[in-house]
């Protein structure tokens, strides 16, 4: 049984449909109230079980894939709260952007520490508003 409502799943699928790059999908999901709710209230094993059920299922629709990305964002949020992201708990190869999102989250985690070794790739500086 899904951890999200039908309306939330549909909202995820809409964002997934028009996201052009992994970072925008992840950041949008990371700030989504439904993802935050799951990150706050559901234990990691339950989130992981649901994630695995989705990525190993036969259905590869936008609704399913977008929900899997939402669960991935919730897992990342939960792990960041307890301190260390570490390696992904499951193979993310079933999601086109899964590994990129996890790698980016780990990179962000490292860049907030005191011993940054690797240089980030070129980035643009943008203004707000």
């Amino acid at each position: 049984m899904s951890l999200f409502t039908e309306a939330e799943r549909r909202d995820f699928a809409g964002g997934f449909t028009i996201a052009n790059v992994p970072i925008s999908l992840w950041h949008w999901l990371d700030g989504h109230p439904a993802v935050r709710r799951v990150a706050d209230l559901v234990d990691e094993d339950r989130v992981l079980d649901e994630f695995v059920r989705l990525i190993r299922g036969a259905e590869r629709s936008e609704m399913v894939l977008a929900e899997a990305y939402a669960l991935l964002a919730a897992m990342i949020a939960k792990r960041r709260r307890v301190g260390r992201l570490g390696p992904p708990p499951v193979d993310l190869g079933a999601l086109r952007w899964g590994q990129q999102i996890w790698a980016r989250a780990r990179r962000d985690e490292r860049s907030t520490g005191t011993a940054v070794i690797a240089s980030p790739p070129p980035r643009l500086i943008f203004d707000q508003g």
Binding site: A13, I18, A19, N20, V21, S61, P122
Partner: protein, 150 residues
């Protein structure tokens, strides 16, 4: 399929063309006029190109690597301009944490309000004419306007 795409400096830009539009994409795109009533949503979907493909590659392909946009802007001598300076043909690049999430082409920006209208493509969905802040939240609100100096 991949096409040869290079910046003015001869740097190869990774790209690829998708071939399918799903039923969900069709249905979701059909609802855009209701969810963005002030925008003009144009009929016809194409998986061949995305927003960056429209802005930088003449609708020929998808450009998905965030670093590629930074390379295009640098190699093709795009310079940041103020919103009020933006004219038809200039571009807007939206971003999240400094990484490009969306782009489009300025088509109109009239005084005295200087609220630029943008022509962009929303993922695999349609091309849309919209005001610069009327975009799906997945793209974020951070943005900059650029003019190509090549």
């Amino acid at each position: 399929m991949i096409i040869r795409l290079q910046t003015a400096a001869g740097r190869d830009i990774p790209n690829g063309q998708d071939t399918e539009i799903s039923a969900f994409e069709r249905n979701w795109s059909a609802e855009l006029p209701q969810t963005h009533p002030d925008a003009d949503v144009f009929p016809g979907l194409s998986p061949t190109y995305n927003c960056h493909g429209l802005t930088f590659a003449s609708r020929r392909t998808n450009i998905g690597e965030p670093d590629a946009i930074a390379h295009i802007l640098a190699d093709d001598r795009y310079e940041v301009i103020d919103r009020r300076e933006a004219r038809a043909g200039d571009i807007i690049v939206y971003s999240k944490d400094g990484e490009p999430t969306h782009s489009g082409i300025v088509v109109e920006n009239e005084s005295p309000l200087f609220v630029p209208w943008i022509w962009s493509k929303w993922g695999s969905g349609p091309e849309v004419r919209h005001t610069y802040l009327d975009v799906h939240p997945v793209y974020g609100k951070d943005h900059r306007f650029f003019r190509c100096r090549v």
